[in-house]
Amino acid sequence: MSIGHTLLGLLESGPRHGYDLKRAFDEKFGHDRPLHYGQVYSTMSRLLKNGLVEVDGIEAGGGPERKRYAITDAGITDVERWLTQPEKPEPYLQSTLYTKVVLALLTGRSAADLLDSQRAEHLRLMRVLTDRKRRGDLADQLICDHALFHLEADLRWLELTGARLDQLAGEVRA
């Protein structure tokens, strides 16, 4: 996730202090990892240097956290470009799980056990997310669903691989 673009986007609705920016970000997107002030400070100075934001005013007392930032026209263009450009889908071609399964087969360990314990682990996380989703608001639900769908995809892959273990073992050992 691009923090710079996110902060720029938050500024589009109006000028804010650095402290406000951090709070708004945490509230909306920082469910798992809140931003450090350092991250806000360094990002804003980079944006300032690139001319995407400008300082709207400084409150008495000085210090970086007292600066009010406003977005520039270049900044708005930049946000727009970022939003309209599709994210590149993850290819997921380098899979640790796949490697583990093949190695288990090569070394004569039980690949089925490996898959089963992995499924149990996935499900444990899914249970946690489901629980959180049940208690949370719509934002929580959407975020958890995103994760749940990914985990579910992994699980499907686990099922499919489980069903094809014999075939895979034959090819791997050939």
Binding site: D116, A120, R127, R134, L151, E159
Partner: protein
């Protein structure tokens, strides 16, 4: 987890339909108020396990004990009575009587247990409110959506305040949004009624509503929680 304190215990279940083996040494146990998902690929014997646990089908060998009573030693009549009073059921589809209105469908298990019509329908309406389908009371199953129908079915499964709920792919015929809603209302209602749930599903996101899962493959069951903690 030891079988002690378990509400429903099955051990060494074998069941064959003609030449097809559906269960081949399955074990299972569930505690009061616990939600257990039974997972596995289609044709692995999940539904057969559920049917055996609920006393609908008698296993060829193996025993099932519910609340200290051995199911296979009970007569068909006793098992039917048990299903009326202690168990509740939700299936994938085709379980609502098309001629009866929704509230009559929900009240049906109570009526079968001998409760007076008015009383049964009042209780039914209470459960329909909890599942947010009380507006459908006078509608017939053919006139409601799939998700609403499943919620009606869930209300019906809970109306007798069963100690064990058996759900066989309860969201199988629903899209994910409706499926989520049904699962959420279902597990919440079950938990608040302190009913144990046996949930057969092949969908991980549905299974995620459970406390633990049992995997059935080729008629054999694996209790993943026991193995991890062992």
């Amino acid at each position: 987890m030891t079988p002690a304190g378990s509400l429903l215990i099955a051990s060494g279940l074998h069941k064959a339909y003609g030449p097809t083996t559906a269960l081949d040494g399955a074990d299972f146990s569930i505690h009061p108020g616990e939600v257990v998902a039974v997972m596995g690929p289609s044709g692995s014997g999940k539904s057969t396990l559920l049917h055996c646990l609920a006393g609908i089908v008698t296993p060829d060998t193996g025993t099932i004990t519910y609340d200290g009573r051995v199911l296979s030693a009970m007569s068909d009549r006793e098992r039917s009575a048990l299903r009326r009073t202690d168990f509740g059921f939700v299936f994938q589809f085709g379980q609502l009587v098309p001629e009866l209105t929704c509230v009559e469908n929900v009240a049906l298990p109570l009526r079968l247990a001998g409760v007076k019509r008015r009383e049964a329908e009042r209780a039914a309406l209470g459960w329909m409110e909890r599942l947010e389908v009380d507006g459908l009371r006078a509608k017939r199953p053919g006139e409601v959506s799939g998700g609403q129908g499943q919620r009606v079915a869930v209300a019906r499964s809970l109306v007798t305040r069963p100690r064990v709920l058996f759900a066989d792919e309860p969201t199988g015929a629903l899209d994910s949004l409706n499926g989520e809603r049904v699962m959420q209302l279902f597990t919440e209602a079950a938990r608040s009624a302190n009913a144990a749930v046996v949930l057969v599903t092949h969908e991980a996101r549905v299974a995620a509503y459970s406390d633990r899962e049992i995997v059935v493959r080729d008629g054999k069951s694996r209790d993943m929680m026991q193995e991890l903690s062992a």
